[in-house]
């Protein structure tokens, strides 16, 4: 049975701010995201200046800022003073409230008690720690810069510094990963009493050292069935430990869902600052130049650093709202859909019928959700909805929604 509990739902106009910190000490084997390892702390001041310049020039969305997220890269390489400076400037242009969720992604290999206190003092109130695995050989193979011990101490120091909301990331389906290792990772992380867990299946992106190593036969992924079993086990175990699955890959103790990620799934506006950062609002998606130097040059010259954009038609926005929203356990609220688009969600009737017939979708009058099977096969659902026909129904049908 799908949990009916709704942890947190943004208002339609609530928005988030994403700040990309691309610096890393080393590149993880699976990573194909926008990161640089060749820059050091001496490059930070200019980068922060660029972010502030971009922020000052940015058009701030209407509505309430509910989340600030420092993502990376490795944001925990940035000195707390810089984080404080950025947050202060953000507060100056917004109706800043204490309730804003301020998350910083952290690598356990970069954290100290001092630094954590510094971040907390700067206004960060949520930590997302990239743990990934608890076995040294996996961490080494992934080219992580930390060991299992660093994860334990990072958590202890985070609590000591006053962080009441801490999340771990972990990955299943690692090359050579066994069932026991995965269980040990999840159980070990639970023992550290986090408030939130993100469990991701390893994605092999082309061009990464991981993809290359697999091609060369250096590593082998576990069998598809074993990887599926790992997920199933975690999905069954975590609710028994007081965690609810509020999104396909995300679990939290009540009241601790990630607001920032939720904004993505609910198609709320967000503004992205920094190299390669993505933004969305008013039917438009746009993204910044990926290269740090190019981004900096543009931002510091007072130009918009955007490198590309995509305008969504209303139909396309409705489709994305549905296939993204279905990732949430709460599903889609037809009332909310109607409020937002002035069309009933029944415009997707045909696709919904097909997906229900396949046992992937559960339609109630107050919510449309994925079934358990649908959550396992969320891509099948998304692919069906990706270019689903939007069928405007007559008034008679509208009223029944």
């Amino acid at each position: 049975m799908v949990s009916r509990q709704v942890d947190w739902v943004p208002k339609i106009s609530d928005w988030g701010l994403y700040i990309h910190i691309p610096f890393c000490q080393a590149r993880c084997t699976y990573c194909d995201f926008n990161t640089v390892t060749a820059m050091g702390v001496e490059d930070h001041p200019q980068y922060v200046e660029a972010i502030l310049a971009e922020w000052e020039g940015a058009q701030i969305p209407d509505g309430t800022l509910v989340s600030v997220f420092f993502g990376g890269g490795t944001p925990s390489l940035l000195h707390p003073d810089w984080v404080a400076k950025i947050l202060a400037r953000v507060a100056r242009r917004t109706a800043w409230a204490q309730t804003v969720e301020v998350t910083l992604e952290a690598n356990p290999g970069t954290l100290t008690a001092d630094r954590l206190s510094g971040y907390r003092a700067a206004g960060v109130n949520r930590l997302s720690i990239g743990a990934q695995a608890l076995q040294p050989h996996h961490l080494i193979a992934l080219n992580r810069i930390h060991g299992p011990g660093d994860i334990v101490s990072a958590m202890a120091e985070a609590r000591a510094a006053g962080f009441a909301n801490v999340s771990f990331d972990a990955i299943y389906g690692l090359p050579g990963q066994t069932w026991q290792e995965w269980q040990a990772t999840v159980q070990g992380l639970l023992q550290m009493r986090p408030d939130h867990l993100s469990l991701y299946q390893l994605q092999v992106e082309t061009g990464t050292p991981l993809a290359e190593g697999i091609k060369q036969g250096q590593w082998a992924l576990p069998a598809a069935d074993l990887t599926a079993e790992m997920a199933v086990w975690a999905e069954e175990t975590l609710p028994q430990q007081g965690f609810q699955r509020y999104e396909i890959s995300n679990f939290c103790r009540p009241g601790h869902s990630s607001r920032h990620n939720t904004l993505y799934w609910t198609l709320n506006p967000y503004l992205g600052l920094g190299a390669g950062a993505h933004s969305f609002g008013a039917g438009r998606r746009w993204w910044n130049a990926r290269g740090v130097r190019r981004y900096q040059a543009a931002a510091l010259a007072g130009d918009a650093p955007a490198a590309g954009e995509e305008r969504l038609s209303l139909d396309e926005e409705m489709r994305q709202y549905v296939w993204l929203g279905l990732r949430m356990s709460a599903g889609i609220d037809p009332q909310r859909f109607f409020e937002r688009f002035a069309y009933p969600v029944a415009v997707f009737e045909q696709a919904f019928d097909e997906l229900s017939a396949l046992g992937l979708l559960d339609r109630q009058h107050d919510a449309i959700r994925l079934t358990a099977r649908g959550r396992d096969l969320a891509n099948v659902v998304a692919r069906r909805l990706l270019d689903a026909e939007v069928k405007i129904l007559d008034i008679g049908n509208c009223r029944t929604v």
Binding site: S198, A224, A228, W287, L386
Partner: protein
């Protein structure tokens, strides 16, 4: 040119023994083409020919050769080397009086050497042995001479040559003049010219390659193709040097081409006789038979909207390929397509590649099959070129399948392995003879259907690459054959039906369903794959239901990327054929060819 100073010859060789290099050198040494204009494999003009190092179309080059104060005209007729084109080769040889038999000084006599030699002898050609690559450090001409003697050629007469280094080329030319007989034929008789190939030229229409046997032909002459009974008027006559060069007439014994505003090679069949329509010859030259496809395969567009484009592309290819046949066909599984007939598997591959490369078509090709002859209970003979069309077992009196006579030359160490392979493929032992103490020739009768796919690969792998293989068709033989159907998710997929020997059905069925299980991706539900004989299931595998298909992290709100990834996946699924709710990838329809292959 006086008949006595014309020499028509071809070069025959096993693949890679240096046929094309020797031809290049003859053209170069005689100054037919300047060094500047030379490119390797001058005679192979199709991209595919150069890429694969094979000759698909025949060519004819006129070489002027002054010798001892006399001017000679040498016509080199280059033939395709592959067994698929045996009939074409036989017509090209028919146009010659002599042949250079090229043998590699390291490799020695191989199966194709032998098959081509037999063909040459059948046509009563004078054979001049040439041992090539004598410059190689491990060349052993002495041993090759012994082997030549063993196959009935006086090897002591062989010219020792390095085509690559240009050694011995003059000697080859001298021998051609001295030993290849002058063309016989009556200059006063009505025109008779043998067609040994033709190709389509966008500007001139079909160029018909001919060897004038009797009489002569000139521009403006009214001509007739005796088998197809089509009349035309000659618009151009020429020879290849090796570029097309116009001449006024082709006389008795000469070789060249004729253009006559002919729209399609379908009118100009290889082996047919060209004569004058106002003074026709009484009898055609012997040996003509219409091109007979040996291998059939279904060609279906992946995107059903491409059906018309596929038909147009096939029609265009047919303008230049009289051996290609096709007829519309409907498959329950694949929709509208064509059943196309080919001379052999190489021919099929070439056509398939050209359709995809030159016409940008994405195709599903069903597993190729041979043609079966079925005699029905109560009389009547059917020609079955599609396994799905085989009548029910109760209606069949006999089924006959094409068989070949195959020669396999192998080091003696591997005789056992070769015999084992031939047995597995239902071969009947004919003969074993020794070329020298270390090499033997095995002769087997084998069903064509058994050697079509991977026989040669298997032969190579079981003999560490040392064995060579060639064959000739040897008629039809009755056999205990049955149709094996494949059911996917309970539905018979007609495009996967094959005809197999009853005793091997179980083994083939197992292999096929296993291969299909590997090739068919997991679906939303469990998919049973069954092989069946007349409704009785003989093998079963299951593609398990897909467990997980989820995208995880959404890095920094990059939804665009996520959407593109999903779109790409969706595109990949579109390229599959949906049969009874199951998405089947293109390659699965060729699975039967890959049975036994490891993943």
């Amino acid at each position: 040119m006086e008949q006595s100073r014309i020499r028509n010859f071809s070069i025959i060789a096993h693949i890679d023994h240096g046929k094309s290099t020797l031809a290049d050198r003859l053209i170069e040494v005689t100054g037919t083409l300047s060094k500047r204009d030379m490119a390797p494999q001058v005679l192979d003009s199709m991209d595919l020919e150069r890429e694969r190092g094979i000759t698909i179309k025949a060519q004819a080059v006129r070489i002027d050769y002054p010798h001892e104060g006399m001017a000679y005209q040498l016509n080199l007729i280059d033939t395709p080397g592959h067994v698929d084109f045996t009939y074409e080769v036989s017509r090209a040889l028919q146009a010659c009086e002599g042949a250079l038999l090229v043998v590699d000084a390291v490799q020695g006599v191989e199966a194709q050497t032998l098959a081509n030699l037999y063909l040459a002898l059948e046509h009563d050609l004078t054979v001049i042995p040439v041992i090539n690559k004598i410059d190689l450090p491990n060349a052993d001409p002495e041993r090759v001479i012994e082997e030549l003697i063993e196959i009935g050629i006086d090897g002591t007469d062989a010219v020792l040559v390095s085509a690559k280094q240009g050694i011995g080329i003059d000697r080859v030319l001298e021998k051609i003049v001295a030993f290849v007989p002058k063309p016989s034929g009556d200059p006063q008789a009505p025109l008779r010219a043998l067609i040994f190939d033709s190709r389509f030229d966008t500007y001139k229409g079909v160029l018909v390659y001919i060897r004038v046997v009797d009489g002569s032909v000139g521009v403006g002459d009214p001509i007739r193709f005796m088998a197809t009974r089509k009349d035309f008027t000659v618009t151009e006559i020429g020879v290849f040097r090796p570029h097309a060069t116009p001449v006024d007439r082709l006389h008795t014994g000469e070789v060249g081409f004729v253009a006559a505003s002919i729209k399609s090679v379908q009118d100009t069949r290889v082996g047919d006789t060209l004569t004058r329509s106002d003074n026709p010859a009484r009898e055609a030259l012997p040996g003509y038979r219409p091109a007979q496809p040996m291998v059939y395969s279904g060609l279906y567009p992946v995107d059903s909207g491409d059906y018309v484009r596929l038909r147009e592309a096939l029609e265009k290819l047919q303008l230049n390929d009289a051996a290609l046949t096709f007829e519309p066909e409907t498959s329950v599984a694949l929709g509208f397509g064509f059943r196309a007939g080919f001379l052999g598997l190489l021919h099929l591959e070439v056509i398939q590649e050209r359709l995809e490369r030159e016409y940008d078509l994405s195709l599903i090709t069903t597993a190729p099959n041979v043609v079966y002859q079925v005699t029905r209970v109560g009389g009547g003979v059917l020609r079955i070129d599609n396994p799905a069309m085989l009548p029910a077992a109760g209606e069949i009196l006999t089924i006959e399948e094409p068989v070949v006579q195959a020669h396999i030359i192998t080091p003696t160490d591997y005789i056992g392995a070769v015999m084992e392979l031939a047995q597995e493929r239902r071969g009947t032992y004919v003969e074993l003879s020794y070329l020298d103490p270390r090499r033997a020739m095995l002769t087997y009768r084998l069903p064509l259907g058994e050697i079509m796919y991977d026989f040669f690969d298997q032969l190579k792998s079981r003999t560490r690459g040392y064995a060579s293989f060639d064959y000739q068709l040897a008629g039809l033989e009755p056999s205990d054959l049955v149709r094996m159907d494949v059911l996917i998710n309970g539905e018979t997929v007609d495009a996967l039906s094959t005809i197999v020997h009853r005793q091997k059905a179980y083994y083939r069925g197992r292999g096929l369903v296993e291969k299909l299980r590997e090739l068919i991706p997991r679906q939303l539900f469990e998919v049973p794959i069954q092989a069946a004989l007349g409704g009785r299931v003989i093998a079963r595998e299951t593609v398990k239901a897909m467990r997980k298909d989820v995208l995880a992290k959404c890095y920094g709100g990059d939804i665009t990327r996520k959407r593109k990834l999903l779109e790409k996946q969706k595109e990949g699924k579109r390229r599959m054929k949906s049969v009874g709710n199951v998405e089947i990838p293109q390659e699965a329809f060729m699975a039967v060819l890959r049975v036994g292959e490891k993943e």
